[in-house]
């Protein structure tokens, strides 16, 4: 099977280029794209990509495979139409080949203060949540920060610095919804400007590509609803 892979080494190449590789894959194979990449790397060790857990938990191997951002380790080759075209995550600065720079992505993540804030007295044991309260953060605590969504969001392409992006906003909503967090008002106030949240045009690319099947669009709608309820 043919793989066409984006190659770019800023120290050696003037311009990025696509390089073709042939990999033998039995027709009944359940191999994932990451395994094929590792096979290619055995033959051509100059190919650079990130990967770690191999099972869709660490979020390292987000890349654009046949036009959609996905995790190489959870994308079955049998689900793809050959030739398989692999490019780095869209609209992120390329460090080398499929390795991209996450600096801005993590800055946007930092902006939503992704940690629990509680000014009440620390209890002797843990802060208890009822099952109903806990259910409110279902689908919000599972983000692995692979950047597949933010890198595929047109609003993030046009305003990467001002719009937080779907990943960051999913995290923002995760703490807004958490019954143990007492900084809800401050969190909402921090997002009031016309860009941070409201540059979302509900295109929903984020929800389409999320490899964990999360719904950042719904989280963004939730933030807007909370703001409207607060009447800010």
């Amino acid at each position: 099977m043919r793989f066409s892979i984006y190659r770019y080494n800023p120290e050696a190449d003037k311009k990025p280029y696509m390089k073709d590789y042939e990999v033998d894959i039995p027709s009944d194979s359940d191999m994932m794209v990451l395994e094929a990449l590792l096979k290619i790397k055995e033959k051509d060790e100059t190919l650079a990509f990130r990967a770690s857990c191999r099972e869709g938990v660490c979020g390292s191997d987000g890349m654009n495979i046949n036009g959609l951002n996905r995790l190489a380790c959870t994308t079955a080759i049998s689900s793809l139409k050959p030739p398989i075209v692999i490019r780095p995550l869209v609209n992120m600065p390329v460090i080398r080949d499929l390795v991209v720079d996450f600096t801005l992505f993590f800055k946007q993540y930092e902006r939503v203060q992704p940690y629990l804030q509680n000014n009440d007295e620390t209890p002797q044991t843990e802060r208890l949540q009822s099952p109903q309260e806990r259910a409110k953060i279902d689908g919000l605590i599972d983000c692995i920060l692979c950047a597949c969504c933010t890198s595929f969001c047109p609003s993030s392409w046009w305003n990467p610095e001002k719009f937080i992006g779907p990943a960051g906003l999913l995290w923002a909503y995760r703490f807004i919804q958490d019954s143990r967090d007492t900084a809800t008002d401050e969190r909402l106030a921090n997002l009031e400007d016309p860009f941070s949240v409201f540059r979302c045009r509900t295109i929903m690319n984020c929800t389409v590509v999320c490899p964990k099947n999360l719904n950042p669009s719904a989280a963004i709608a939730g933030i807007r609803r909370k703001m409207a309820e607060k009447g800010s």
Binding site: K107, N159, E161, K162, F195
Partner: protein
Amino acid sequence: MVNKPTSDMSLTANGLRDWLIQRFSAIILAIYFLVIVIFLLIHSPINFITLKNLFAHLWMQVFSIITLLCLIFHAWVGIWTVITDYIKPVFLRIFIQLLIILSLFIYFFWGIEVLWRLI
């Protein structure tokens, strides 16, 4: 690096307010155009007298002016969004935005003048 973003020429400089105004104005616009379309269908073929009679009603004049205002707010928010997406040089962006705001005002007063003359 990621400072509080500048929202220089958005309608209200507040994301939620802009967003709500755009959505509420959309509802008014939809109702208005529905009324017009239904009127045109009922009175087809339309002529000048029927149309003039429709706009002679006070409620229609008030409704038209409210709709015109909604259209202006709706367009202000929407076009500001598109312009800040695509036009990055600050002076060019502000210039185009000013032109659009100016034309929105002209449309508004022009619209009032048209309605006024019908009375």
